[in-house]
């Protein structure tokens, strides 16, 4: 990327979501070009000045807020959300322009150490399910090993993330591929959000930036530094509800939990090596995730990293493209409950043509699904939205052919280009 290209793309760093490729390319350019870095920092500082920060700062230290004759509290509440969003996602570069106070600065040097590495690989152990989405965590589940490798080459980034015996994602610099062996093989453009909130673990600096932001956000969040002869440990405790590492654990049901993160750095190179992340719920502390020995700048074969299984890949951008306009109009006007009913009844009928778009990701397991649900009846559909999930959960009663009833739910989402409901989980 040259300076002109940087100036063409820099505005994209201020969008609600940032394309990973653009971010990586811009960051690489800024590392080489002090002028462009200064330009970005000035823009970021201005952007920050436009946020309603003083109101937030006043609220976050719990000082009583004077009563106003105008209804500003809803705005402040929304602003709290916005700041969380902004500091969490919109400014991932740990430049001096990003929320900087003496408390959060403790993370600064460590963020700088890890953000310019050429490659890294690590094994993450997380309480999750092998086949579930990467953003899914469950404190009651067993640990699943997730191997992550990332390589930066010539302003491009390539990565591989693979759950042992389960779901995997590869980005080859152009397309993302996600698969579950013998069940799911989908591909999409680099903007396809296959990783969801788990993307935070793909870049160690993001995990650190989140903690820094949380420290800056509220004095209720705390960090303690300890050291040995060879290591420095920063232990973060997030007790400010909804502003600890919620974004990392987007769909992990972290609502009222406290989070504790132990970050261990090696003194000689300043690099983050070990991470442990606990959740504390009603006094019970559970280790949710740990990362052992992150290795940086390792020799890595791009061909091996981006190798994908030989399979028939379904392009997510084509899922809805063939839908006729009158049908599309009907699908767009469906409520989540209506869509869930249509999808489930299509499976039960054994004819899924009326739910082909919604079941696109389930193509390979449809025969098994149809067999399992043959003769069942579904009723009593109720929607429930969960703030952590972009889609909607629809709860329903499943009656088996033998008359046995079961309460179940399906997760569906319509955040695709055509705004139609697609089954996302629970089947």
């Amino acid at each position: 990327m040259n300076c002109k290209e940087f100036k063409d793309k820099v505005v994209d760093l201020f969008d609600t979501t940032i394309d990973m490729q653009t971010q990586t390319e811009c960051k690489a350019h800024m590392a080489e070009c002090p002028e462009c870095k200064a330009y970005y920092e000035e823009l970021a500082e201005t952007f920050k000045a436009l946020q309603p920060q003083e109101a937030l700062a006043k609220q976050s230290v719990s000082s009583p807020v004077a009563k106003h004759r105008h209804l500003w509290r809803p705005i402040a509440a929304a602003a709290v959300f916005l700041l969380g969003f902004v500091i969490g996602w919109s400014h991932l570069f740990s430049t001096s322009a990003v929320a900087e106070t003496p408390r959060g600065q403790i993370f600064e040097q460590w963020i700088k150490s890890v953000q310019n590495v050429g490659s890294f690989q690590m094994a993450v152990y997380a309480r999750t399910m092998p086949n579930d989405n990467f953003a899914y965590f469950n404190p009651k589940a067993d640990f699943v090993r997730i191997d992550i490798g990332l390589l930066r080459q010539n302003d491009s980034v390539f990565y591989r993330m693979e759950k042992q015996n389960g779901r995997a994602i590869v980005f080859d610099g152009k397309d993302q591929y996600m698969w579950i062996p013998n069940a799911l093989y989908v591909k999409g453009p680099r903007a396809a959000n296959f990783l969801e909130g788990f993307v935070s673990l793909l870049y160690p600096e993001r995990l650190l930036s989140m903690q820094k932001s949380a420290i800056d956000f509220s004095k209720k969040n705390d960090v303690v530094r300890t050291e040995t002869d060879s290591t420095i440990t920063l232990t973060f405790k997030g007790t400010e509800k909804n502003h600890d590492l919620q974004q990392l654990l987007e769909t992990g049901k972290m609502g009222d939990c406290e989070v504790e993160v132990e970050n261990v750095f090696t003194k000689n190179d300043g690099l983050l090596r070990f991470i442990k992340l606990w959740v504390v719920d009603k006094g019970q502390k559970t280790l949710l995730l740990y990362i052992e020995n992150i290795q940086y700048n390792v020799m890595m074969s791009r061909a091996n990293l981006t190798q994908i299984p030989d399979a028939q890949w379904m392009d997510v951008t084509e899922v809805t493209s063939a839908t006729a306009s009158d049908r599309l109009n009907n699908l767009q006007n469906e409520t989540a409950a209506q869509a869930a009913q249509r999808i489930l009844e299509a499976i039960i009928d054994g004819d899924t043509s009326n739910a082909s778009e919604a079941l696109a990701y389930y193509k390979n397991v449809l025969p098994a699904l149809i067999k399992n649900m043959k003769g069942c009846k579904v009723s009593n559909f109720k929607e429930r939205r969960d703030g952590d999930y972009v889609g909607t959960y629809v709860f329903y009663t499943l009656m088996h052919p033998d008359g046995k009833q079961e309460q179940k739910h399906i997760a569906i989402r319509n955040d695709n280009e055509k705004h139609i409901w697609i089954a996302d989980g629970g089947l």
């Binding site: 505005v11 500082e45 000045a49």
Partner: protein, 170 residues
Amino acid sequence: MNQENNITMNKLAEHLRREQPHLMRYACYRLGDADDAKDALQDAYLKVCGKLSNEKSSEVKDWRNYIFRTLSNICTSRLSLSSRLKMIPLDARLEMTDLPAESNEADYQRIAQLLVEIPEEQAEVIRLRIYGNNSFADVAEILSLPLPTVKSRFLYGLEKIRKAMKQTKH
């Protein structure tokens, strides 16, 4: 109202429930008064509901953006009626930016005085992006502008505010 419109009404209510804080904040930063913002939001809601009884309602592909567009138009009408665009005197610009904010209203004043430095078309893009929490693509749809235009207005707006902030510091 037919069944299709009942369904759309449910979707609309869901959008409003989800987006109300952003709509309210956007209107507040546009109008400078929370009571006016509340009224504008109510007007927008009524207008959108009215659209539902119109046969053309099926033409609306994205209700969220439609609500924002309606609210933006209502704010424009209200401002042109009351000339509130000139509420903050130009000669008072930026002097308050270094003052500690005593309240959320003071915070509003600080931000409004930054926005008064730039043309309204750029300020509107910034308000929709930051306070309405819209993506650039959404802003483009709301304002019926090409995406590159939205992005360049946003960038020029930030650059001008930055320049003005620098001049004030000196």
